[in-house]
């Protein structure tokens, strides 16, 4: 990772360097050409100066008629040696208008003609100068030379010939141009160096920042990927949990169905033999098989009683199972709870009398409510039967009905043994039996109150117990008079 920014920095630095080098090359090329042009102009000016200042007064028309000889040539040699032949001056020619070289600092050229490929003389003879670059032989070596052609003009007269000056290109032009170029190049190199020196740390910082940002982005992307992966994982877990739950639910539904089936089966299997037991017992008790003596009758009554208990137990078990499965179906009709209480008291009177219990009914007329008559009768029967069971001989049991607001109340109060507070909360649990009931061998299955509670709750009602050991017990059932669903159901039925 740390290698990356360095490479990036190097690449940017390289591109920048190349670009700057091109720019510097262009600048140097421009400066060079300008400096060269300037040097050439200076060379021309020098030639013009020489031509103007030195030669005009010395040269005459005779010098351009035929090649000079003798004293004149010696005079011109001296003149050129003294005044003109300085550093960088290679050669000078005097050329006649017809192209013949009449004098030259290179004696071999005197009398020869200006070669045809050389500069045309006509424009020069008309008054304008000319320039050229060529290579000449000088001292046995070829030298690049800057040539200047200037007209030689006596004051106020027409040009009488051409003055040609050869200057050393390298020393006069190139070197001079270099004098300008080199400082510029040096300056540029310095500037380039400074620029690079400044640029590299900046680039480093910039690339570092870019790299940090990049890393952050990569990290963000990684985090996003991770959270996406987490989300997917979570979704998969949820999915699997859901399917597990659904599977479990299916199993529970199946188990519930099996339980119902089992209960139904058990109920059927128990009822079938009980049908025979009770049926044949009835036959014998009806004396269809001969007369019974009192003892036989008493014994058979015991059989009948207990087979009856067994039958009720089967019924209770089935009822509780149905209530558990939420399949308690109510046959709804208008029910007079006070009348139910009265019927129950009438039915229970013989048992109460037998045990010398004072069974009282304080049933105030109450409005009819919507409910299952049979089930509600079972509630009253169970509560009264319990009260009688748990009340000692000579005790008292009172049944009351009342209305408060939209509720009908049924209370069954006894002066019995009472229920300890600790047991009261468990009283409505299935198969729960109070310690006192077990100790005193009071018969029961522990299903009665569970059934009562299930029926009351199926009617959207509630049941509570108020009791203290030795002071008796009161069960209080609250049943709503108005229940939207039941009212509708009754209207539909009507």
């Amino acid at each position: 990772m740390s290698n990356k920014p360095q490479r990036l920095t190097l690449r940017i630095a390289a591109y920048t360097g190349v670009a700057l080098l091109f720019a510097a090359g262009a600048i140097l090329w421009f400066v060079n050409s300008r400096a060269t042009a300037e040097a050439e102009n200076q060379a021309v000016n020098r030639a013009q100066f020489i031509a103007d200042a030195l030669l005009h007064n010395e040269l005459g028309e005779a010098d351009f008629v035929r090649p000079v000889t003798g004293q004149r040539r010696a005079r011109l040699d001296e003149l050129f040696q003294r005044a003109v032949h300085t550093e960088g001056m290679l050669r000078m020619n005097l050329i006649a208008p017809n192209g013949q070289i009449t004098y030259s600092t290179s004696p071999a050229l005197i009398g020869s003609r200006q070669p045809d490929d050389e500069m045309a003389l006509e424009p020069v003879l008309r008054g304008s100068g000319a320039r050229d670059v060529s290579e000449i032989e000088q001292g046995g070596r070829r030298i690049k030379a800057f040539e200047t052609y200037l007209p030689v003009q006596p004051a106020g007269g027409a040009p009488i010939g051409v003055f040609e000056l050869y200057q050393d290109y390298d020393s006069r032009i190139t070197d001079q141009a270099r004098n300008t170029l080199y400082p510029v190049a040096g300056f540029l190199a310095l500037a380039l160096f400074v620029l690079c020196a400044a640029l590299v740390p900046i680039l480093r910082r910039v690339t570092a920042a870019v790299e940090i940002r990049n890393e952050q982005l990569v990290e963000q992307a990684t985090r996003l990927e991770q959270s996406l992966a987490f989300a997917q994982e979570a979704q998969m877990e949820t999915e699997s949990a859901r399917s597990a739950l659904s599977e479990q639910n299916k199993r529970l539904v199946e188990l519930d169905r099996l339980k119902d089936e089992f209960l139904s089966l058990v109920s059927h299997e128990l009822r079938t033999p009980l049908t025979s037991i009770r049926g044949y017992l009835d036959l014998v008790l009806d004396e269809e098989a001969g007369t019974l003596n009192p003892e036989q009758r008493r014994f058979l009554k015991a059989v009948e009683r207990n087979s009856g208990r067994l039958l009720r137990l089967v019924g209770d078990l089935l009822f509780v199972a149905q209530a558990d499965a939420g399949r308690l179906t109510l046959e709804r009709a208008k029910v007079d709870v006070a009348a139910l209480a009265a019927d129950c008291v009438e039915a229970a009177q013989p048992v109460a009398d037998q045990r010398a219990i004072d069974l009282q009914l304080a049933a105030v007329p109450v409005p009819a409510l919507v409910g299952d008559r049979g089930r509600l009768a079972q509630v009253v029967d169970n509560l009264v039967s319990n009260a009688l069971k748990f009340t000692p001989e000579g005790g008292r049991v009172e049944i009351r009905t009342s209305t408060i607001g939209d509720y009908v109340y049924l209370e069954v109060e006894d002066s019995g043994i009472g229920i300890p507070a600790a047991e009261q909360s468990r009283l409505f649990e299935r198969f729960f039996r109070a310690a006192a009931a077990t100790e005193r061998a009071i018969p029961g299955t522990g299903l009665g109150l569970a059934i009562v509670k299930a029926i009351v709750e199926a009617h959207a009602g509630a049941i509570e117990v108020i009791s203290a050991p030795g002071k008796g017990t009161t069960f209080r059932v609250e049943l709503p008079l108005r229940e939207a669903r039941t009212a509708e159901a009754v209207e539909e039925a009507a």
Binding site: S264, T275, S276, G279, D286, E288
Partner: protein, 134 residues
């Protein structure tokens, strides 16, 4: 031997796979003055009912082969027995079972264990009603 006069005692079909209950119901019905023809499976009950066309059928619900509901449906579908009174005898005392029996076409039901008086009342009521006009 003198040929006994054709009985005017009503003929009742009793079907139950439990031999003891079959005997018990038969005894009670005979005491009530009925002639009883017995069946021990649903298929037998259907065959006897279609063959002899009894005045009343008392059918147990839970029997091997065809159950009481199915026999009831078949009897209702057949012309000679379509109006025959049928009592279902059921140990399945749940309301749903009762409703199912009535829906199949039974006229009444008796829950096991049954009370002799209960059986007498229902049988007498259905026999006195006679065959319903179909």
């Amino acid at each position: 031997m003198i040929e006994p006069a054709p009985s005017n005692r009503p003929l009742v079909l009793v079907a139950d796979d439990d031999e003891d209950i079959l005997t018990l119901v038969t005894f009670r019905l005979e005491r009530l003055g009925c002639d009883v023809v017995k069946a021990r499976t649903g298929d037998e009950a259907l065959r006897v009912a279609l063959g002899q066309v009894p005045d009343l059928a008392v059918l147990d619900v839970t029997m091997p082969g065809l159950d009481g509901y199915s026999v009831t449906r078949e009897l209702r579908r057949a012309e000679p027995t379509s109006a025959m009174p049928i009592i279902l005898l059921t140990a399945r005392a749940q309301e749903a079972d009762v409703a199912r029996g009535l829906a199949a076409g039974a006229d009444d039901y008796i829950r096991k264990p049954f009370d002799a008086r209960d059986l007498h009342e229902r049988v007498e009521r259905l026999l006195s009603r006679g065959p319903e006009p179909s």
